[in-house]
């Protein structure tokens, strides 16, 4: 393989999807998809958390803000949570978040929660492919750009939204 | 293959139920008393016999099912089945059976039972062949293939005898068949004595 393989393909829109998978079920399932050599779309990037209960709605928003076109959340099937009920907590937040996202014009298909058990490598494959297809149809997630004051020197870090360092006078 | 729409007249609707009082519950047990069939009840219905049998594809019930039915007392169905007559004694099933059931022996036993109860299929030459063979041996101590076969055809399907006449003549021409019987060198009487003795000992397996 040549070292100067064009990265990424110049033509055609390739969605970028960030996936937050729980360590015990969904991450294991995606490992299983790997060991079973199930081929699927290369558009997802998995971030491992211990439990879907760790997935903070702020992560989802930040992921979209950073330019992702979709966010996939994965947890254990109901009743199977390694931590008893983290997946339910994730579900409740997710449902509320989705209502907010709808108001903000983020299409329903872009943010998705799936229960995938450790044995369901094929579901990782199926869900990923399905989501990539759906988002490919939608195109880029067009969040509005956040303006910055023109006079300000070029921002050095990413923490644009993080205002103030705290402290009380 | 052309798809045909089934017609009512082509549907074979039969009632298939077995009441317990139609069965001969002791049948299986009786069969186990025959040498070679003693392990009949141990059958786990795996179907190895049916799949290894070169003839099971022609059978109305597979060997596995024959054992199931024998054990469950479906005596009439078993004895009137073509299966037992299709067994060519190749012993594949006996060798392959994981429970070491001597299925070929079971088939022999069922054939004998069918002959005994006179329920073999009409026109089937096998029982006749067996009897003729028996008669030939009783007479000379040895079997004469040509004569025996000719008699069987004569008794079952005389037309077949004519059809096979050509083969017979060609065999004769090459010295491979003779209507003259081979004989034991000694007296057949000794042999008959032995057979009579078996006949008189009450083994329960003689055709009576």
């Amino acid at each position: 393989m040549s070292k100067d393989t064009p990265l990424p393909s110049a033509e055609g829109f390739e969605p970028r999807i960030v996936a937050f998978f729980c360590n015990w079920c969904t991450y294991t399932a995606s490992d299983l998809a790997g060991t079973s050599r199930m081929q699927y779309a290369p558009n997802t990037r998995v971030i491992r958390v211990m439990c879907s209960g760790r997935i903070d709605p702020r992560f989802v928003l930040q992921t979209l803000r950073e330019g992702a076109d979709g966010v996939l959340l994965g947890g254990c099937r109901p009743g199977d949570c390694h931590y008893q009920s983290g997946n339910y907590k994730c579900l409740r937040r997710f449902k509320l978040l989705k209502r907010y996202l709808a108001q903000m014009g983020v299409e329903n298909e872009r943010v998705r929660l799936e229960w995938i058990a450790a044995s369901e490598g094929d579901r990782v494959q199926k869900v990923t492919n399905e989501m990539v297809e759906q988002i490919r149809k939608l195109g880029h997630c067009r969040l509005e750009q956040i303006p910055r004051p023109e006079t300000e020197p070029a921002a050095e870090t990413h923490d644009l939204e993080q205002v103030g360092a705290g402290g009380m006078i | 293959m052309a798809q045909r729409t089934p017609r009512m007249s082509n549907l074979h609707i039969t009632r298939r139920i077995k009441y317990q009082n139609e069965l001969d519950l002791g049948f299986g047990k009786v069969m186990t008393s025959i040498p070679g069939a003693e392990d009949l009840l141990r059958c786990i219905q795996c179907g190895t016999c049916s799949s290894t049998c070169p003839l099971s594809i022609y059978m109305d019930h597979t060997p596995r099912k024959i054992i199931a039915m024998t054990r469950a007392g479906f005596k009439d169905e078993v004895l009137s089945s073509a299966t037992i007559w299709l067994c060519a004694s190749c012993y594949s099933c006996t060798v392959d059976c994981p429970k070491k059931i001597k299925i070929t022996d079971v088939m022999y036993a069922l054939k004998r039972k069918a002959i005994e109860e006179k329920v073999w299929p009409r026109g089937l030459p096998i029982p006749v062949l067996a009897k003729e063979f028996f008669a030939s041996v009783l007479r000379t101590g040895r079997a004469n293939e040509g004569r025996t076969v000719a008699k069987v055809w004569l008794k079952t399907r005389p037309l077949k005898l004519l059809a096979n006449m050509g083969l017979g003549l060609r065999l004769m021409a090459r010295g491979r068949m003779s209507m003259k019987s081979e004989r034991m060198t000694g007296s057949v009487d000794q042999l008959r004595k032995i057979l009579d003795s078996v006949h008189n000992s009450d083994t329960g397996h003689s055709p009576g």
């Binding site: 209960g53 903070d56 709605p57 702020r58 989802v60 928003l61 930040q62 979209l64 803000r65 109901p78 009920s85 339910y88 907590k89 579900l91 409740r92 937040r93 997710f94 449902k95 509320l96 978040l97 209502r99 907010y100 108001q103 903000m104 014009g105 983020v106 997630c141 067009r142 969040l143 509005e144 750009q145 956040i146 303006p147 910055r148 004051p149 006079t151 300000e152 939204e161 993080q162 205002v163 103030g164 360092a165 705290g166 402290g167 009380m168 006078i169 | -």
Partner: protein, 328 residues
């Protein structure tokens, strides 16, 4: 030695911030004694030309309240930034976009369409819309243009400090002025308010049960609100857990739930998401349908959880509102 010069200006705001200055009551005398107001359009007769005439950095401090939506507000913000050493975003609108920031849920065209055509009280048979330029008999008139979206002050100019609140509590204003005068200011960019959430000093905190406490959401008019009991525990959407304290729990004392005007604490990137996560977690349902039913009690999540801060939130505005038509 001359007194420090100060300015006070409003952009897209309701005037409540100016009221908060008045709320200083007799303390205002002390302020006036220590500071020279050189620009305060609501209270004193200074004009833009007066500011333009100042040297850059001539004002020690300038307080700007209100969000930025128009070309005029942007120009004034830039002008005042130049003329002051310290620029303070004063009040929720200036700090995070505030109530005007809710306009970021709609495009400019949608707003115009509603205001000039569809609203039930509008009578506009010619379909007239405001124009930036207009030929009047007196000559060509120019009006400020309306931006496509609402911004917080720091999205337009560099801001040194923030004083949150709608309106900001007078105590915070006083503390800020005292710190300015003493020269003992916190690090640049600080929010001049306590950095713990409202629950920290909520008088009802002891009545809040430590268990998943929400089965359905109610609105204040739907129930007889208990004066003592934690409002969340009564099913009311109180944003106290995700909102900076320092407001002296005025709403709570008035038996109303916190609506989040003080913004998030410093460690939280997005106030609305924080309360979505907290309240969602505490919802006492496992069945998806039951969850949905309960959530139906929040008809407007964006307006509820981001009432004061859509422009300052992670998503900033509804997708696509700046695209396409609406030029004027």
């Amino acid at each position: 030695m001359s007194k420090p010069k100060a300015g006070f200006y409003w952009c897209a705001s309701c005037g409540g911030c100016e009221e908060s200055v008045v709320d200083l009551a007799e303390d205002i005398l002390g302020v006036v004694e220590a500071i020279d107001f050189v620009f305060f359009p609501v209270a004193m007769d200074f004009k833009r030309e007066d500011v333009e005439a100042m040297e850059d950095g001539e004002m020690t401090v300038c307080f700007i309240n209100g969000a930025i939506r128009s070309s005029e507000q942007r120009e004034m913000a830039e002008l005042l930034r130049r003329k002051s050493q310290v620029l303070i975003a004063y009040g929720s609108c200036s700090y995070q976009g505030g109530i005007p920031g809710l306009a970021n849920l709609c495009s400019r065209e949608e707003i115009f369409k509603f205001v000039y055509h569809d609203s039930p009280s509008t009578d506009n048979p010619q379909g007239t819309r405001p124009q930036v330029r207009f030929d009047a008999p007196e000559g060509e008139l120019e009006l400020p243009s309306l931006d496509k979206e609402v911004k917080s002050l720091d999205q337009v100019v560099e801001v040194d400090y923030y004083i949150p609140g709608c309106a900001p509590p007078t105590a915070l204003l006083k503390a800020a002025v005292e710190a300015l005068l003493s020269g003992d200011m916190p690090p640049k960019g600080s929010v001049i308010a306590p950095d713990t959430a409202l629950c920290d000093d909520c008088p009802r905190i002891d009545t809040k049960p430590a268990e998943p406490l929400i089965t359905e959401f109610k609105r204040p008019w739907q129930i007889q609100i208990d004066h003592e009991k934690c409002l969340l525990a009564q099913g009311l959407l109180c944003l106290g857990p995700a909102t900076r304290g320092g407001c002296d729990h005025a709403c709570i004392d008035g038996n109303m739930p916190c609506s989040g005007c003080m913004g998030p604490v410093s460690r939280v990137r997005d106030q609305g998401a924080a309360i979505i996560s907290a309240l969602g977690s505490l919802l006492n349902h496992d069945d998806p349908d039951e969850i949905d039913k309960a959530l139906d009690g929040i008809p407007d999540p964006a307006g509820t959880f981001y009432r004061y801060g859509i422009p300052h939130s992670t998503l900033y505005a509804r997708c696509g509102i700046t695209a396409g038509n609406g030029e004027s």
